[in-house]
Subunit: 244 residues, 2 copies
């Protein structure tokens, strides 16, 4: 635990991770669950396109909370509402399905598969003495189910329902740091998304970029290299672990 | 994960633990730190009596927060203030010591030794599929330091600074359950203190009593057996693990 962030000038004590896309492969996990659902109901749809459509509602739904247009609700609530929207976008009526089944499908977000390097990388960072945890828009129970299923060795889980704020709202970065009784500059966000890292850096956090070029699928063009000068950048969490 | 609480009628999903006295032996840990401090400063004091005096301010200090006489402050803040009181009670002036040293001594509450059965018992309960975590008046960073030092395998840590309430305030039991998205009756509090268990039961939690007759030291008479009918009762966390 000797890594000093060039941007904050402080020794990093905690490495907190964006989760969807950075630690877990949401697209494969959701497509698998959607594929099973479609099969049961004899629906003719592309599970990957459906996953993309569902995920497409993620930022707009959080934006309504961030903008104050609605009070804070958990990401579980948003995922469930967005599922209805994704069904409607295909001309399907959510009312034609058993709500318990739709609830179960929405819970697929709790059980997403980690990228191949995630468990090993987070474990290595933890063994080096750092505090490790998620810094995610997921709610606590979602992140807990995911950690137990995927074997993510978090030291602690403080979901967005603890801060009641969604990234990139500053509170989403600053409240976890405060609960850890660390200066923002002692906390590093590791994320695959540069907008997330930029917001974290703006409020004083250290930053690590993890390239996940396949997050949106093989056809989507997603940068494999950072376009900004983050403290660390690599193609896997294990690579970042080796430099901390 | 098949244990049904007789009192709540629900299957227990999470077993959350009182920490000071139930999971860790605060008296031995604090006496050791106080003994080292006294030795450095050539103070003639009984480290165990000092630990008891320091801990004696614990409930009154929290009570001022619970009663609304002061806004919420973390247990770290209270421990530090109570250290000054314990010094004054011996006729010592806290101002005669380096504040950094006193801060360091107060941090002994972050690094208390677990009882011999704690790590094995909590590990066994976790392996059986239950969510395990603290349900403590300690703040998140205190509980995190303790977990990392003692090897307590918590799934998550939600300190009292998350709920901003001290047990036996109902919110201290209900907010963690809400963040886990569990009914209170699906959450079991395991504790060595019957007043804590009684408050948890009153708001709907399942209960397990762990006898810790040595918590206050060998001379203090502390009940080794429960006086009320809790869901489970045993002499060690490993014993409770075997019955879950």
């Amino acid at each position: 635990m000797t890594y000093v962030s060039p941007s904050t000038g402080q020794t990093v004590r905690a490495v907190l991770f964006d989760v969807f896309g950075t630690v877990v492969d949401w697209r494969s996990g959701i497509a698998a669950a959607v594929g099973a659902f479609a099969s049961v109901h004899g629906l003719d749809l592309d599970p990957y396109a459906f996953a993309d459509s569902w995920r497409g509602q993620y930022q707009p739904a959080m934006q309504r909370v961030r903008a104050g247009a609605r009070p804070f609700v958990t990401l579980d609530v948003l995922h469930r509402e967005n599922l209805d929207d994704a069904l409607r976008a295909l001309g399907l009526d959510p009312g034609d399905f058993d709500p318990v089944e739709l609830d179960g499908l929405a819970r697929a977000w709790h059980f997403l598969p980690p990228w191949p390097d995630s468990v090993a990388g987070i474990t290595a960072i933890k063994r080096s003495g750092y505090i490790v945890g998620p810094m995610s828009n997921g709610n606590t129970s979602l992140l807990l189910d995911m950690a137990k299923a995927a074997g993510l060795p978090w030291d602690l889980i403080l979901g967005s329902d603890v801060s009641r704020a969604y990234k990139p709202d500053p509170e989403a970065y600053l409240r976890p740091a405060a609960l850890l009784e660390l200066d923002p500059g002692e906390v590093m966000l590791a994320a695959a998304h540069e907008a997330d890292l930029a917001a974290a850096r703006k409020v004083g956090l250290a930053t690590a970029f993890i390239a996940r070029p396949l997050e949106q699928g093989p056809a989507a063009a997603q940068a494999a290299a950072a376009t900004q000068d983050w403290d660390l950048a690599g193609a896997a969490i294990t690579e970042i672990a080796g430099r901390l």
